[in-house]
């Protein structure tokens, strides 16, 4: 068993620093605007949570290794080396108080993509053994068991049996040549199985062939959250292998933000080649089906509903319009949060924070931002498209004693599908 060392950590920083990182650090004028974009700062008022400050170890390595001034400073001992102690101290800043929501990346006046750098900085934290225990455990379970929550195929199969019984629909597994291979997040399997039922209904309604994959049903990628490309690669590879084995046309990312960015945006770069299949988020797919008339809904939710944008889906994923189109399809009283879409506020549990027990207290404090935002909207119910956000917000509501139901957008759409079978036009193959 090899060990994580500070040398490995610094080596990882050196590997990770690229031209954008160098440009970003060169440009920072310490204006502090990023703090105003970070819910961990706004809700605690503690300046140590200023996003750019979280990157000090990476910045220092960049300066010492990749700039003339830094090299000279190093030569004359004018700059402090990044030590294991420093990184231990920074664990709280790079993990507990950062969901990589990338809101700071949107406001930085000089254009620094801070979340991009946090993701890179975490590589060094992992290599030096400074990732928090909860996140490490999640990764270990994901690699060893196949799911960060330790959900095994047998648990999935058990849930499938329940769903099949409830809906009367078949949940296909390992169907070769299916058009779509759906991925799930463990949370959906364990906490929100209605999502799987919803999928089955929608695909049946639209007449689309789909399948789950017994070797790659888990969509979440703990490697991305902990910040290890090596672990992330291993997890993505399972999906790629499964998709290629089943020869599907596209892989559907479930209602989970980081799972989508992991497979859609990081995936090909992790495995080092372009995918032979497409990757699509379930909301994108639903919106496409809506636009092409292949799913038809009836009835509108009367309640005032709002939508929480999962950060990974909007800012980092680019799925912005689809949920709005879908919301308008099934609700008549949809109100936007004041800051929504790419300006949405994080639930506070992304980027591995929700699996990091040490961060629980901080996460609770930070959730106040979302809570107030939701309360200000006057909505009666909250819709979202991420199992993790949903769970985090449910916990948050409990903590703040807020009564507000949270729904998944996919299941909401599924609930409104036109029920008479076959009354719609025969779905056409696209």
């Amino acid at each position: 068993m090899s060990q994580a060392t500070i040398e490995k950590g610094i080596n990882a920083f050196k590997e990770q620093i690229d031209a954008p990182v160098a440009a970003f650090f060169s440009s920072c004028v310490s204006c502090g605007m990023c703090a105003e974009a970070c819910l961990f700062y706004t809700e605690t008022g503690d300046p140590k949570y200023t996003p750019i400050h979280k990157l000090e170890p990476l910045r220092r390595v960049w300066e010492q290794e990749y700039t003339l001034t830094g090299k000279i400073k190093k030569l004359f001992g004018l700059t402090e080396a990044v030590t294991d102690r420093m990184l231990s101290e920074w664990q709280e800043l790079l993990y507990d108080s950062c969901t990589m929501c990338a809101r700071c990346s949107m406001v930085c006046p000089v254009g620094n993509d801070i979340a991009y750098m946090v993701r890179k900085a975490r590589e060094g934290m992992v290599a030096s053994g400074n990732a928090p225990e909860g996140v490490r455990m999640a990764s270990t379970r994901a690699v060893r068991i196949g799911s960060p929550m330790g959900v095994k195929l047998t648990s999935l199969q058990a849930q499938i049996r329940h769903i099949e019984a409830d809906t009367g629909l078949t949940i296909p597994i390992d169907v070769e040549g299916a058009e779509y291979m759906a991925l799930l997040s463990s949370m959906e399997i364990m906490n929100f199985p209605e999502y799987i039922g919803g999928l089955a209904k929608i695909f049946a309604h639209a007449g689309i062939s789909w399948t789950l994959c017994s070797t790659a049903f888990e969509a979440t990628n703990s490697g991305i959250q902990i910040g290890s490309s090596d672990i992330a690669r291993e997890l993505v590879q399972r999906v790629v292998d499964g998709a290629e084995r089943l020869k599907v046309r596209a892989v559907i990312s479930p209602e989970c933000g980081h799972a989508y960015t992991a497979i859609r945006w990081e995936g090909p770069n992790l495995v080092g080649r372009r995918f032979t299949f497409k990757v699509i988020h379930i909301l994108e797919l639903l919106d496409q089906l809506r636009a092409s008339g292949r799913i038809r809904t009836e009835g509108l939710e009367r309640e005032c509903m709002t939508f929480h944008d999962p950060c990974s889906l909007v800012r980092k994923g680019g799925v912005i319009e689809s949920p709005r189109n879908l919301m308008n399809m099934v609700t008549e009283n949809f109100v936007e949060l004041e800051e929504h879409g790419k300006w949405g506020w994080c639930c506070g549990g992304g980027g591995g924070v929700s699996s990091n027990e040490e961060a629980a207290g901080l996460r609770h404090k930070a959730f106040r931002r979302k809570k107030e935002q939701l309360e200000a909207s006057g909505a009666d119910a909250l819709v979202t498209a991420c199992a993790n956000c949903r769970l985090v917000m449910e916990e948050g509501f409990e903590g703040y004693r807020v009564e507000m139901p949270i729904l998944g957008l996919t299941e909401l759409v599924a609930d409104h599908l036109v029920t008479e079978e076959g009354s719609g036009e025969p779905p056409e193959k696209r």
Binding site: S2, A4, K14, E15, L68, V126, S128, G129
Partner: protein, 363 residues
């Protein structure tokens, strides 16, 4: 030779009436750039003023300063003052020559020991004193000897005041101004190349009138004449403020009398009275004639960049520096880039794949 007659007596001997004297006093106040309220004080002082002995030494100079002074037109008020002054030695103007001239200088020095006024034009060569001698006496020796008994020294012209043209880079004669040799006497620098005639006479008038030197600026120049820059007193200043500039000597801006800054006018850094005293008996002055100020009353004006380069342009070849810098930067940059790529590549090579077994720190 100096005698003890006062200026007042001297004027009356010339048949000047009281009204004439009053007129003379207001003209003198105007000449000294003093406010008209000073006229009674001037009258009282002039009434008592003693006739001083003046020794005028010319060193490394072009005689332009003397020319400027003697350009004084026919009998003016200034000339009245000079009539009153006992100019005991001036090798350009005096009749005596050779040993007789030197004897006159020595006689004046002895008779008025500690009381005569020494006027100097020209700079003094120190690289080799032999570069400039008078009657076999080097400039530096003559200056030291003559200055010893002077009440005050007036350094007329930029050469005497600041070294002037002889001191221009590379200063082959090692020229220095009076102030670098004489440090124990009051010195008034009347700079300019040449100085404005009325400024020379104005300073003399001040000395004569009040028996003391006027208030001086940091460069030892009389504040009344050098207190404000050409730029601040320039009648074209409003054009500068409005951003209207002549770009060439024959463009519309030049014809309309716009600001000459872009054509190299050194007015903003030049302190002199040209804009008000004017030249050629008040006819005009360089800027009024359409040419920028050369800055001739300032130290080292010869070396202050091209006469036709705007003041803000550095004296060196900026474009060349930028090009050279860019080339050198690219070479150094390429080296730095190689180093960076090396570091990055090495780090990537050293990468040890992280597995879930490697997440704990080594002990």
């Amino acid at each position: 030779m100096a005698n003890s007659k006062t200026l007042g007596e001297s004027l009356r001997r010339h048949g000047v009436t009281r009204r004439g004297f009053l007129k003379f006093c207001s003209a003198t106040a105007s000449l000294m750039a003093l406010p008209p309220t000073m006229v009674p004080a001037i009258a009282a002082a002039l009434e008592r003023a003693k006739r001083p002995s003046v020794i005028w030494l010319s060193f490394q100079e072009c005689t332009g300063c003397t020319e400027s002074l003697t350009r004084s037109h026919a009998p003016t008020v200034e000339s009245l003052i000079f009539d009153h002054v006992s100019l005991d030695y001036h090798h350009t103007l005096q009749v005596a020559s050779g040993e007789a001239a030197e004897a006159a200088r020595e006689a004046a020095m002895h008779e008025n020991q500690g009381g005569y006024l020494l006027v100097v034009d020209g700079s003094i060569p120190l690289a080799d004193p032999g570069y400039s001698t008078i009657a076999g006496i080097s400039n530096v020796d003559m200056l030291r000897e003559t200055a010893a008994g002077a009440a005050a020294i007036i350094a007329v012209g930029t050469c005497a005041a600041f070294g002037g043209l002889p001191k221009a880079d590379p200063n082959p004669t090692g020229a220095v101004p009076v102030s670098e040799i004489i440090r124990d006497k009051p010195i008034v620098n009347v700079s300019g190349c040449p100085p404005i005639p009325v400024v020379i006479t104005g300073v003399l008038a001040h000395f004569l009138t009040f028996g003391a030197l006027p208030e001086l600026d940091r460069y030892g120049r009389p504040m009344v004449f050098y207190g404000q820059s050409i730029h601040d007193r320039c009648y074209r200043r409003p054009f500068y403020d409005k951003g209207l500039f002549a770009e060439t000597f024959d463009d519309e801006g030049a014809r309309k009398g716009w600001c000459l800054y872009k054509m190299g006018c050194k007015g903003p850094m030049t302190y002199n009275a040209c804009a008000t005293a004017k030249w050629n008996n008040g006819t005009g002055w360089p800027v009024e004639a359409g040419h920028g100020c050369l800055g001739c009353s300032e130290p080292d004006f010869w070396d202050a960049g091209g006469f036709y380069n705007a003041l803000s342009i550095p004296t060196s070849d900026v474009t060349g520096t930028v090009v050279t810098g860019a080339v050198a930067g690219a070479a150094l940059g390429a080296a730095a880039a190689l180093l960076n790529r090396g570091t990055q590549g090495e780090a990537r090579e050293k990468h040890a794949t992280v597995t879930v077994d490697d997440l704990e720190k080594g002990v």
